[in-house]
């Protein structure tokens, strides 16, 4: 007995020490991996403050010497970045607002209202998610030409507001989680469908709406192929589209300039991400799980 009692604590400590060591090792590996993940951003920032001679002579030097903001001045003044931010912001805002309204209406109908054709229609909505957007690119472009919406933000905003099968599916899932009693109580009080949706359902959908807003905003903000095809005037460009004007046009040698432009395009978004990280990560996980 005595020996056993004597042995046990020793084992426990060595086990704990082993676990601590393993944990330390795990943290080191994760930290290294995490730093590797953000290295491109760090290098972008460092490079953007370097002058051309340093970039050419010592590509491996870490800190800028001397620090210069010339790259930022040149990037900001050579293309209309401010305008692009305004464009992206209001395209995003309108697209998100429209999607929230139309998708939650449709999601509510599919979850709660019995109407003829509902089942078939819902299957159609699910099925269209299988169609890659790129497959519709050319007829969509031709349609926009017919509407006179080529080189206009309408070609990006109106379709985004009116159709998003995934958003409909997601909102239906969120409506299904609401207790039916809420609506039943309102109905007994003589509340119609329209008022019920706006007064009872929508306010209770707030967490789902916030998640959807984040998902759609990121999607719209980062959209590239459609703006590329539909917009021609630089003053109408979105941020990612405008950024591509640094793809070669200004000579590929001064990559400090390219990094400054990339920083202008990414840093505000990264700051927004760090501020809203929890909500953003959760929302995208929800969407990645297909609304489960």
């Amino acid at each position: 007995m005595a020996t056993l009692e004597g042995v046990a604590p020793v084992r426990a400590t060595s086990g704990r020490r082993g676990r601590d060591l393993r944990k330390l090792l795990l943290h080191l590996v994760l930290l290294a991996a995490g730093l590797a993940m953000v290295f491109p951003f760090v290098w972008m920032l460092l490079t953007s403050f370097k002058a051309l001679p340093q970039l050419l002579d010592e590509p491996l030097s870490f800190l800028p010497n001397p620090w210069t903001i010339d790259n930022y001045v040149q990037a900001w003044t050579s293309v209309p970045f401010g305008q692009a931010y305004l464009n992206s912001a209001y395209i995003c805002l309108l697209s998100v607002a429209g999607t929230l309204v139309t998708a939650s209406m449709a999601g509510y109908a599919f979850a709660r209202i019995e109407f003829r054709g509902a089942k078939v229609l819902f299957v159609v909505f699910l099925a269209t998610q299988m169609i890659p957007k790129q497959v519709t690119l050319i007829p969509f472009y031709l349609l926009m030409t017919k509407f006179g919406w080529v080189d206009s933000h309408l070609s990006l905003i109106v379709p985004a507001m009116l159709v998003n099968p995934f958003a409909v599916f997601l909102m239906r899932q969120f409506v299904l989680t609401l207790p039916r009693e809420l609506e039943e109580a309102a109905r007994v009080d003589g509340c119609g469908r329209w008022r019920m949706f706006w007064r009872i359902v929508l306010p209770n959908l707030r967490p789902g709406l916030a998640a959807l807003a984040i998902i759609v905003a990121l999607d719209v903000w980062n959209n590239f192929l459609f703006p590329l095809v539909l917009l021609n005037t630089p003053d109408l460009f979105t941020v990612p589209l405008l950024l591509t004007s640094f793809r070669g046009q200004f000579g590929t040698i001064n990559y400090g300039l390219v990094m400054a432009a990339s920083a202008i395009a990414t840093i505000p978004m990264l700051i927004a991400f760090v501020i809203g990280q929890r909500k953003i990560i959760d929302s995208l996980a929800t969407s990645g799980l297909g609304g489960r």
């Binding site: 139309t102 998708a103 019995e114 229609l121 007829p139 969509f140 390219v258 995208l284 799980l289």
Partner: protein, 308 residues
């Protein structure tokens, strides 16, 4: 008098008038999305199927050519190369990307500091692909930081990542994985939360090591989520465009990183050959459907759904 029954009764026996009105309200509520769907997805989609059998540049008269576009496209070395490249990107990035995400998720699962790490892993996910590609284009320069480090540590010539055809495709894969690892990590973490600790403890008592805990317990338990993520990742890598448009500057060098969507874009908006471009997009659709179908067939063997 029977408060328990009160909320149930109206739900089961709805007044006829309410039901009649619902028939109309249903369509009012889905109306905007249905109009959008017909106008901006289904319409263009059907038009794409039709255009695939025509020859048209948008200006001159449209001519019907039957299956000629498909025959031309399937015999076109450029499309075949695009398909091979796209499949290569998918086959390389999906298993490596998801595998890394799973390992990171398991490593992070029980850490109190995990949200700190998550921010690092997730930053690329919220950055636009164009910006990501612009940044990596500079990292991959032959006189850039990566090549210089490799050259000075291994004492070899600095690799020309974006100039060498094979390395260029690998570069696209590296960037694709880097961009998506954070999102899949978060999704897997959410799934792992549902694995009950008692199951893991029981397996540990039976002598399961970390590796068999991962492959025998955790992976089967979250296999529906792994399956879903695989499909999503596969479909999205079949649609690779932004990366090759920017990173390898128009799918270079010499079309070594040309993907199907780049091919569609190039035919449609580089050469205004709407017919062949539509044919190529129909081929993309078929490929997507076939691969997804195959994955759904394969899931029967590997995916375990808990019986409810």
């Amino acid at each position: 008098m029977t408060p328990r029954l009160a909320p149930v009764a109206p739900a089961t026996r709805r007044p006829a008038a309410w039901r009649r009105r619902d028939r109309r309200w249903g369509w009012v509520f889905v109306g905007p999305q249905v109009i959008g769907m017909l106008l901006f997805i289904l319409g263009p989609f059907l038009a794409s199927l039709v255009l695939a059998f025509a020859s048209w540049d948008g200006l001159t008269e449209l001519k019907w050519v039957g299956w000629a576009n498909f025959a031309d496209q399937l015999g076109d070395e450029l499309l075949l190369r695009s398909i091979v490249n796209t499949l290569l990107i998918a086959v390389i990035t999906v298993p490596i990307g998801l595998g890394l995400s799973l390992l990171i998720a398991v490593a992070l699962q029980n850490l109190r500091t995990r949200s700190l790490y998550l921010v690092l892993f997730f930053a690329p996910v919220v950055t636009s692909t164009v910006a990501v590609a612009m940044i990596w284009q500079q990292l991959f320069r032959s006189d850039g930081v990566l090549s210089s480090v490799i050259a000075s540590t291994l004492h070899i010539d600095p690799p020309d990542w974006l100039g060498d055809p094979h390395l260029a495709l690998i570069s696209v894969c590296i960037v694709t994985i880097w961009m998506s690892v954070g999102l899949n990590t978060v999704i897997f973490l959410a799934g792992l939360q549902g694995v009950s600790p008692s199951v893991l403890e029981a397996a540990q008592l039976d002598g399961a090591g970390p590796w068999s805990l991962l492959t025998r317990i955790r992976m089967p338990l979250i296999s529906p989520i792994i399956f879903f993520s695989t499909i999503v990742a596969f479909i999205s890598s079949l649609q690779t465009f932004d990366t090759v448009f920017v990173l390898t500057s128009d799918a270079g060098p010499d079309n070594a990183t040309r993907t199907i969507v780049y091919h569609i874009y190039d035919l449609g908006f580089g050469r205004f050959e709407f017919g062949p471009s539509s044919a190529a997009s129909v081929i993309l659709l078929m490929l997507t459907l076939v691969i997804t179908g195959l994955q759904f067939t394969a899931q029967k063997r590997f995916v375990h759904y808990e019986s409810d």
